[in-house]
């Protein structure tokens, strides 16, 4: 792990201890068993906000602590380990970033303090089909009086069922597939014409599909430039990807640690199973994948903080490597645990289901391979 600042070390210890003591995987199991519609517990969310993690990125003047993405990653890695369910990523990182990048002072003043104290959840609504494709935006925002009218639908919106506002990518000109013509809007969820259908997913988190039927919004709802929103959207998504990758790394690291422990204690044929070379070599290879993923994720977060022009390719690299490692690790967690890994009573299934959900979010491995290689002219 990269050398941490004192602040980061403190936050890491705090997050680690809190997740272990207050929101371990058994808490997630209770949440899953309760089949709560919104995919997180109010109590957990309140604690997250109280610890100030929702305000990590938000300036002190607006109620946050004005820290950086690398610091946020340290916290997300720890919550990822215990599969902590809360809107921290969706609102505290993605929603906040939309406002921080969106260059709309009034909206920032209005929403950032509420994101920071956890009283509002702001989330991004970007995709419209089964696969992440930010340039395929087809929701229309047609000029209507002084403002715009939204029509169309969004899918798989994180915390969509409990959000107070959506950052909606809509098309003010052009057609699906074009980067030009996209505009971002901040739309309160109680605006007339919005329908919200929550989804019951394998990872038991909160997602919703949204419908927009003649939703009237003012010109003051625009984040960034009209028609020029793709650059903002892309920068926002890169922050989302790097943050989610940090959370995924934590999830996969915990799966690795638990599996390694099992390899050291479980005996078969009179020896610990980790002494079988086929398992030991696989563990060593997974260790390599883990170290590689960590290097990429740390580099991506630092590049965002440093406004490095390489940040986009590093974010794709980070999301892809996190996805590859978590994918393999979640499969091997089950295989190396054998039959017990297949039972619902054991936690491996939670890691597996969460793995695929996070892989699909903000672009899977294939999406990011293609985004990465497109930078090399082929």
């Amino acid at each position: 792990m990269a050398v941490l600042t004192e602040e980061q070390s403190m936050l890491k210890d705090q997050a680690h201890a809190w997740a272990r003591d207050e929101s371990p995987v058994t808490s997630f199991r209770q949440l899953r068993n309760s089949a709560a519609e919104k995919g997180y517990e109010d109590n957990t969310w309140a604690q997250v906000a109280t610890m100030g993690w929702t305000g990590i990125l938000i300036p002190e003047a607006l109620g946050g602590s004005g820290m950086d993405y690398a610091t946020f990653g340290v916290v997300l890695e720890e919550t990822g380990r215990q599969l902590v369910a809360s809107p921290l990523l969706a609102s505290g990182l993605v929603g906040a970033s939309a406002l921080l990048l969106g260059n709309n002072e009034a909206l920032s003043q209005q929403w950032l303090p509420r994101i920071a104290d956890g009283s509002a959840i702001v989330t991004l609504a970007v995709d419209e089909g089964p696969h992440h494709a930010p340039d395929q935006v087809a929701v229309t925002a047609t000029r209507s009086g002084e403002g715009f009218k939204l029509d169309g639908s969004k899918v798989f919106v994180l915390e969509g069922g409990s959000a107070d506002a959506f950052v909606v990518a809509a098309r003010t000109s052009g057609t699906a597939g074009e980067q030009a013509g996209i505009t971002l809007f901040l739309v309160p969820s109680d605006t007339a014409g919005i329908s919200v259908s929550t989804l019951k997913t394998a990872d038991s988190r909160g997602y919703a599909d949204l419908g927009f039927n003649g939703v009237e919004i003012g010109a003051d709802a625009v984040l960034g430039e009209v028609d020029g929103g793709f650059t903002l959207l892309d920068a926002l998504l890169d922050r989302a990807r790097a943050g989610l990758a940090a959370e995924m790394l934590g999830t996969a690291c915990e799966a690795f640690d638990r599996t390694l422990e099992y390899l050291k204690t479980r005996e078969q044929f009179g020896q610990v199973i980790g002494s079988f070379q086929s398992l030991g070599h696989r563990a060593a290879t997974l260790f390599m994948d883990m170290e590689f993923a960590r290097s990429c994720i740390e580099a991506a977060l630092r590049a965002i903080d440093a406004e490095d022009p390489e940040a986009p390719i590093l974010c794709s690299l980070a999301k892809c490597k996190a996805g590859e490692f978590l994918h393999d690790m979640s499969n091997d967690m089950i295989q190396m645990h054998g039959g017990i890994g297949m039972t619902d009573e054991f936690d491996a299934g939670f890691y597996l289901k969460r793995a695929r959900a996070t892989e699909a979010t903000f672009g899977g491995q294939s999406f990011h391979r293609r985004r990465y290689i497109s930078h090399f002219g082929i």
Binding site: L199, K200, G339, A348
Partner: protein, 395 residues
Amino acid sequence: MAAADDLNVFREEARQWLNDNFPSSLANQRPPGIAGFGAKLSGDWKAWQERLGEKGWSTPTWPAEYGGGGLTPEQAGVLAKTMREIGAISPIGGFGTMMWGPTLLDVGTEEQKQRYLPDIIRGNLHWCQGYSEPGAGSDLANLQSFAEDKGDHFLLNGSKVWTSGALEADWMYGVFRTDKSNKYQGISFLTLDMKSAGVEVKPIVLISGQSPFNEVFFTDVVVPKENLIGEKNLGWDIGKRLLLHERQSIAGSSGDDDVVGGSYDIEQVAKDYIGMDGDKLADGAMRERIAEQKMFAHAYALTGRRFSDEAAVSGPSAAVGILKVAWAKDNQNREEMLIEMLGNRGLGWEGDGFKESEIKTVRTWLRSKANSIEGGTTEINLNLVAKRVLGLKGY
């Protein structure tokens, strides 16, 4: 030439019999369940089960003296082909026909064969398999369930795990410890009536939310001595032999399926969730991965068919272990590709937000993770191939 003529005569005989006995309403229909594995059939399916069982063609190559078909492997091949042509599927199956029966034919006494085989052939009884035990894992011989010799019976205490179909099963066969002082030479192969006093079955919930497996608990269960198969304390070899039949049955089943263009239409999922670019899938990399998957499945099916042909001549071989490994790999790879192609639709668990087919795919994907564990882990099967087929030491 005479042999070929005989086969032609048999082909006509089979056609005639199927014409007279196979209900045309069932043509190209899959049975609603398997007699011999939990299903109680009714109507035309029940009639078809009874006629097929009576004829013995549910187990075509088993000896006629026990109710089997008494056919040669060549005749059985002709029968299978003829049934395929008219879309006639046997509704009789399960552990009895696949593993237990073939093993009993190898090692049972005349009396035991007469006692058990006819009901297996007719699909009258549902057998489950008592092998795995809690904590044993891949070390199958590490058995703790103890059948104490009480003179005229064994008194059984302990438990089994990962027992599929135990909830509905009529009988169990399995391996049990009868001597605590010798790991391998202290195991006996027993059958037991699941309705015996002291047998309790508890389903195991899997990560898929389904419960295809169970735990079975034995508390002072009385097992009559006549239920001992083979010699006392020498049941481990029978147990291993049965597992070879298990793997062979995987080989055989794959050979019967028409894997190319089979029922699981990965192409349709690709078209629906990824889309086409002209006459090709829009995603070139996924297109090549689908090709790899289908070609692997095709090679697997051809190899299963070849091994079945060879087994008909020389009996089951440890080489079928690779089919078990390949089956798991192919299933898991295909399911992962389906989930990936479904994208965020591949996360559906329940409710109106997802199509039934999407939710079913997610559940099937999760269930497939057991494929490389059940029936011998991939690691154990590779060990067996390394040792018994390749002759390597240390496995």
